[in-house]
Amino acid sequence: MERQFNAEIESLKLGAGETFHGEGILAVTKALLQSGVSYVGGYQGAPVSHLLDVMVQARDYMDELGVHVEACTNEASAAAMLGASINYPARGAVTWKSIVGTNVASDALTHVASAGVLGGALIVVGEDYGEGASVAQERTHAVALKSSMWMLDPRPNLATIVNLVERGFELSEASNTPVFMDLRIRACHVHGSFVAGPNRAPAVSTRKLLAEAAVFDYEHIPHPPATYRQEKLKMGVRLPAARKFIREHKLNEQFAGTEHGVGIVCQGGLYNNLLRALKLVGLADDFGASRIPILALNVVYPLVPEEINEFCSGKAAVLVVEEGQPEFIEQDIATTLRRADIQTKLHGKDLLLMAGEYTAEVIVHGLARFLAAHAAHLDISAGARWGEAADAARTRAAELLGAPLPPRPPNFCVGCPERPVFAAIKLVERDIGKRHISADIGCHSFATFAPFSLGNSILGYGMSLASSAGVAPMLAGRSLAIMGDGGFWHNGFLSGVASNQLNGGDKVLLIMKNGYTSATGTQDLVSSPGGSEELAQELSPVRAEHTIENTLRGAGVKWLRNVYTYRVADMAKTLREAFTTDDAGLKVIIAEGECQLERQRRIRPVLARLLKSGERVVRTRFGVDDATCSGDHSCIRLSGCPSLTLAPSSDPLKVDPVAHVNHSCVGCGLCGEVAHAAILCPSFYRAEVVQNPGVWDRVLARLRAGFIGWLQPA
C-alpha cells in the first residue's frame, strides 16, 4: 500500500474524553468503532480509500475488538456484505466512491433495502462531485430515493460527522433501513478534531460467535411474495419510524436568526460554505451567528414534513441551498408546503446554479438575488464589493498574463510501466493506422491526456472490453481494449472476457499487470505479487504471479502473450501481431511491469541498506546529450515522463530548449527504448554509476580511463 497509517491507527484507539486530531474520513472510521460495528467492507477510491486502508493495516487491533474487515474486489461484493445485518443484530459499514461505486453496488443495495435490516447498516459514500472529482458527475441522492434508503449529509465538522455516524446506526435499526452517509470530497479530507468516546466491542463479532444460524423467515428474503409486503413496509412502517427518530433526536439543526421573514434550508454538508457566504455579504459572523434563520438538514432523506412546515410557516420566502441536480430536496419541500397549503415563496435552483459545486462564491450570488427580492431592507453591499474585488483580480490577472495557462492534469508517474505501452501503441498506429481504443478506469486513463491522447471511450471500471462488443464488428481494423489488473478483477473478467468468449469476439485486449490497484493507492489484488523485500532489484515480481493468465486460459483464451512493458519494440511487435494475425479469437496481451511507486517503495530501503553496508550497488540514470539534441522534442511526444523535461540549450546558437532528464529519473529505460524503437535520435544515454565499487570495478575503470584519456580530445 502506498501510505502507512501507523499514527492514525494509534488515534483509532483513543478512549473517552481524549481529543482526536485528523482527517474526516478517519474520524468516521473511529466513529464506526465507537458504534460497535461488527464488520466493515468496501472498495478503495478517492475520497474514502483511507477508511478501509487504515482498517486493513490495523488488522491486529480489529482482531482484538472482533471486527471483521474485508477489502472487497468491487462495490457489489462490499454491498452484499450488508446481508449480514438482515438476519442478525450485527452492525456493519461499507464504503466506496460514489456515484460510480454505488452504481456497481446497486443490485445488492436494492435487495438489502427491500429485505430491511435488523442490525444497523451504514454505507459511507465519498460523493465525488465538484473540484477534484474523477468520475462522471451525478448525485447519489437519486439512489437513496429509488431504493428508499435514508441519507445523511452531516455538517462538515468532525464532531457532527461522528455523532451522525453513531445516530445513523440507531436510525437504521429504528427503521430497519440501511442508511447512506454522504460525504463530499473536502469533508472526507477535512482536518479537524473531536472529543472521542470509547470503542465498543461489537455485540456479534469474530470473538463473540453466534451459536446458530438465523431461523428461517421468508419475510427477510427479497423474493416474491415477500417483496410486495416489503415494498409496502418501506413507506408504511419504515419511513414513519425514520421520521419519528430524526425528529425526536433532533438530527436536523435549526439556527435561529433575527430576520424572521426569510429563511434558508441547506444540506448539512454545505452549512460551512453557506456561513462563509453569509459572512461575505455581511449577515453572519465567524461563529455561526446568522441574521437569516437556517435549517441545516443533516438528514436529507427522508425530510420530516413537520420540521419543514414549522420552519417555513410565517416566512415570506425560503431559499433551498442544494448542490447537484435535479433539485430533489427542493421538490420534496415544495410538495410538503403545497400539501400543508403554506404560502411561503420557495426558491432554490431558480436563483442558484443548477449544476456544479456550491462554493461560497456561488452561494453569494444566489443569496444576493434572494435577499434583493425578499429582504431588500438588509444591507448586503459588502457582498457586492467583495464580488467586484474578486472579478477585478481575475480580470487584471488575465490581462497581465496575456495568454491562457497550460493545464496540468494528472499524469503517469516517473518510470511508470504503463507509459511504454502507449508509446508502443502510437508507434504501431503510424504503421497500421488508427484503431478504435476502448479505454478504462485506472492510471492508464491518463493516456487520454497529452502527449498520447489515446482512447475513444470510457464506459466504467473494467468495462473496456465489454464496451467494444458493439463497435468492434463494425470496424475494418481490429479494435483494442485496455484495462488494468484492477479493472480485470473489478469487473473486466466477467463483463468483458467471459462475454467475449461466449460470443466469439475477435478483439485485442491489453491488460496492464502492474500488481496493484495503483490509481487508488496501490491496494492489493488477488493477483498481487507476494514479494519479499529481498527480491533482486532488477526483477519485476509481477512476472512470477500467474493468476490472471490461469484465469484467462481457464476461460478458453488461446492467444496470450506476456510482454515486459519497458521493451517498447517488443510491445509494438506484439501489438502489430495481435492486430494482424489470422487468429479470430480474443487476443490478450499482458503488459507486465510492477507499479513504479510500489517498486520504489520496496527497493529504496533495500538499496539504502546495501549501500550503507558497503555492498556494490549499480545506480542507473538516463540522460540526453545537450550537444546532439536538436530540440524537436519527438522523444517527449512519445513519453511524457515527468523526469524527461526541457532545459535551455547550453549552446547560445540554439534558440529552442533541449530535452533534459532531471534528477527524479528512476532509470526505467523508456527514453532509450523509445529512441530505439522509433529511430528518433542518438542523444540518449544510459549511465550506470557503480556505487561501492569492488576491486575489479576499480581496476577496469583505471584501465579504461588510461586508454581513453590517452586518445580522448577535449
Binding site: 479530507h189 515527468p642 540554439k654 532531471n662
Partner: protein, 533 residues
C-alpha cells in the same frame, strides 16, 4: 473579543508528490500546539499523480480563552479575494492562483517558488512551447500585497530537503501567521522522519522570507542546469577577418558560429561560413535600416547550426569527448571514485550509411533498398558502451572519418539546400527596402533540425514553404509575403503532422498536399463469418 477579527486564510497550490499535504499538516500541528483553532481541506484524488492540486487552511488567530467557548465555522473551499497567504510550489501554479482571483492587492501575501516544472503541453511543442515566466512574475508583483518570489526548489535542494520545508520556512518567516518560529520547527520535529533535513530547508526558506536575500526574483531558474559543451576557440586568422569585415554588433554571434563550424569540419569550412555571410551583412549595411543587424545575426545563427548538421561522424565525435564524459558524471551525480559506464542508444541504418557515401553510390544504395522496402528496416539497434575500450575506439574511428565528409552525399545535399536558402535571403534583402521578408526567410532555418524521420519532416516543411511562398510568384507584396512566411513557419511548428502548415497555406489559396494515405489492414474473415456468408 477583538473587533474585525477574521480567520487567516492560507491556500497552497502544489503538484502531486511535492509534499503539500505534509506542509498542511505542519501548519495544523504548529497552530494546534499554539492553541489556535485550525482546519485544513484538500482535494488530492488522482491529482497526486503529478497533477496540479490545492490545500486550503484556515487558522483563527484567537486562543481558546479569548474565544470563550465559541468555535469558528470554517468553510471547506477557498474564496477569491479572500486569501491572506497564497503559497505556490511552482511558478505556473502561482499564475493559476492569480487567474483564479486568489491574489489581491488588499490582502494577499504571495509566497511562490520561481522555478518551473514544465507541463506536457509546453514540453511537446516542436519548438519552444514554454510559458513566459516573466509575465507571471510581473503579474505576481502587480497583484500581490507583498510578493516573496524565490527559487525555493533550489534553496531546498541545496540542503537535501523537499520544497515543502523551504515554503514552510518562508511562511513562518513572512510574519503572516501568529506562529513563532520555534512552534513551526517543533511541528517538523514531531513529524519524525527526515526532520533534520527538513529543518535545514526550513531555515533557508525562513531567511528568504525574512528578507535576508533580496525578495525580488531574478531570472526564473530552470528545471536543472546544464553545462556548456566545449568548443575550441576560433583560429586567429579567422578572428581577424571577422573583426575587419563584419559590423561589431554581430561579431559575437559570428565568432560562435564560425567556431562551431570549424569544430564540425575545419578552418576552411569556417572560412566558407564567413564567405556566405559576407554578402548578407553587406546588403544590410547598405540599407542601414537598423543598427541591430538582426538579419545578419539570425542568418549567422541558423547557418552555423545547419552547416554543423548532425551526421554519424559528428555524433561519434561529440559523444567521445572528455568534456562530454565529465558532463555525464556531473549530470548523474556520480561521486569521485565511482566508475560510470555510459551506454549509448544508437540505431544506424541505411540512411546513415548512405549519407556517408559519395552521392552516386548513395543514390544507388537508397534506390536498391527502397525497391525492396528495406530503407527503414535495416536499422541495427546498438547499445554502445562508450566508456569501454572497444566502444570508445569505435566512436573515435567514426569521428576520424571527418576528412571524407566533404565528399559525402549528405554534405552535397545540405550544401545545395543551404545555398538555395541563402540565395532567397539575399534576393529578398536586395529587392525590398526593409529586411522583414529576408528576416522571415532566414528564420525558416529554425525548422531544420532533428534526425531521421524528424529531419525529413523538417526539410519537407521547409521546402513546402519555399515552393509555395518564397520562390513562387504568389503574393507580390513583400510585406504580405513576409507575414505569410512567418505564419507558415509557426504553422509548421504547431504539430508534427503538418496540419498547421497546410492550414496557413490554405488561407492564401494554396491547395493542401494530399494527406498520407491511411493504411487500412483488412483481416482475413474468420471461419464463423465464412460459414455465415
Amino acid at each position: 473579543m477583538k473587533l474585525n477579527q477574521r480567520p487567516i486564510t492560507i491556500l497552497i497550490a502544489a503538484l502531486g508528490g511535492e509534499g503539500g499535504g505534509v506542509l498542511a499538516d505542519w501548519i495544523i500541528t504548529a497552530a494546534t500546539a499554539e492553541g489556535y483553532p485550525v482546519q485544513s481541506t484538500s482535494i488530492p484524488g488522482v491529482a497526486q499523480r503529478t497533477g496540479a492540486t490545492t490545500y486550503y487552511i484556515e487558522l483563527y488567530p484567537l486562543r481558546a480563552a479569548e474565544l470563550q467557548g465559541r468555535r469558528p465555522v470554517m468553510p471547506l473551499a477557498p474564496s477569491p479575494a479572500d486569501i491572506d497567504v497564497m503559497l505556490a510550489s511552482e511558478l505556473l501554479e502561482a499564475g493559476r492562483a492569480l487567474l483564479n482571483g486568489y491574489v489581491t492587492p488588499a490582502r494577499t501575501t504571495l509566497i511562490a517558488s520561481t522555478h518551473r516544472i514544465y507541463t506536457v503541453d509546453e514540453k511537446i511543442a516542436l519548438g519552444d512551447g514554454r510559458y513566459d515566466s516573466e509575465r507571471i512574475l510581473a503579474a505576481a508583483q502587480a497583484l500581490a500585497k507583498r510578493a516573496i518570489l524565490t527559487d525555493f526548489h533550489k534553496l531546498a535542494a541545496n540542503t537535501g530537503a523537499m520544497i515543502n520545508a523551504a515554503l514552510f520556512g518562508a511562511l513562518a518567516g513572512s510574519g503572516t501567521l501568529p506562529l513563532p518560529r520555534a512552534a513551526c520547527e517543533d511541528a517538523i520535529r514531531s513529524a519524525g522522519k527526515g526532520a533534520e533535513t527538513s529543518l535545514r530547508g526550513f531555515a533557508l526558506g525562513y531567511a528568504a522570507a525574512a528578507g535576508e536575500p533580496p525578495e525580488v526574483a531574478t531570472a526564473p531558474a530552470q528545471d536543472s542546469e546544464t553545462l556548456a559543451p566545449s568548443t575550441r576557440p576560433l583560429a586567429p586568422s579567422l578572428q581577424q577577418r571577422l573583426r575587419q569585415s563584419f559590423p561589431a554588433q554581430v561579431q559575437e554571434m559570428l565568432e560562435r558560429g564560425a567556431a562551431r563550424v570549424a569544430d564540425f569540419q575545419d578552418e576552411n569550412y569556417a572560412a566558407l561560413y564567413l564567405d556566405r555571410l559576407a554578402p548578407i551583412a553587406k546588403l544590410e549595411q547598405a540599407q542601414a535600416a537598423t543598427e541591430e543587424y538582426e538579419l545578419t545575426r539570425e542568418t549567422a545563427r541558423f547557418l552555423a547550426l545547419w552547416m554543423s548538421y548532425e551526421d554519424v561522424i559528428r555524433v561519434a565525435d561529440l559523444k567521445s569527448r572528455r568534456s562530454r564524459f565529465e558532463r555525464v558524471r556531473t549530470e548523474v551525480q556520480a561521486k569521485p571514485g565511482e566508475p560510470v559506464r555510459i551506454i549509448e542508444y544508437l540505431k544506424p541504418g541505411v540512411e546513415e550509411m548512405a549519407a556517408l557515401l559519395p552521392p552516386g553510390l548513395s543514390r544507388r544504395l537508397v534506390a536498391w533498398t527502397e525497391k525492396r522496402g528495406l530503407t527503414h528496416k535495416l536499422n541495427v539497434g546498438l547499445h554502445v558502451n562508450s566508456s569501454s575500450i572497444t566502444g570508445f575506439s569505435m566512436l573515435r574511428l567514426l569521428a576520424a572519418l571527418r576528412p571524407l565528409r566533404r565528399r559525402s552525399a549528405r554534405y552535397a545535399e545540405e550544401q545545395a539546400l543551404i545555398e538555395r536558402w541563402l540565395a532567397a535571403i539575399a534576393a529578398a534583402a536586395a529587392t525590398s527596402a526593409d529586411s522583414e521578408l529576408a528576416l522571415e526567410i532566414a528564420l525558416c532555418g529554425r525548422l531544420i533540425k532533428g534526425y531521421g524521420d524528424t529531419n525529413r519532416r523538417a526539410k519537407a516543411n521547409f521546402l513546402r514553404i519555399f515552393d509555395t511562398l518564397v520562390e513562387s510568384g504568389k503574393l507580390s507584396d513583400t510585406k504580405q509575403r513576409a507575414q505569410a512566411v512567418r505564419a507558415a513557419r509557426l504553422g509548421a511548428l504547431a504539430d508534427p503532422e503538418g496540419r498547421g502548415l497546410e492550414a496557413t497555406l490554405a488561407t492564401h489559396g494554396i491547395a493542401p498536399l494530399p494527406q498520407r494515405p491511411e493504411i487500412v489492414q483488412f483481416m482475413r474473415r474468420t471461419g464463423a463469418q465464412k460459414k455465415a456468408a
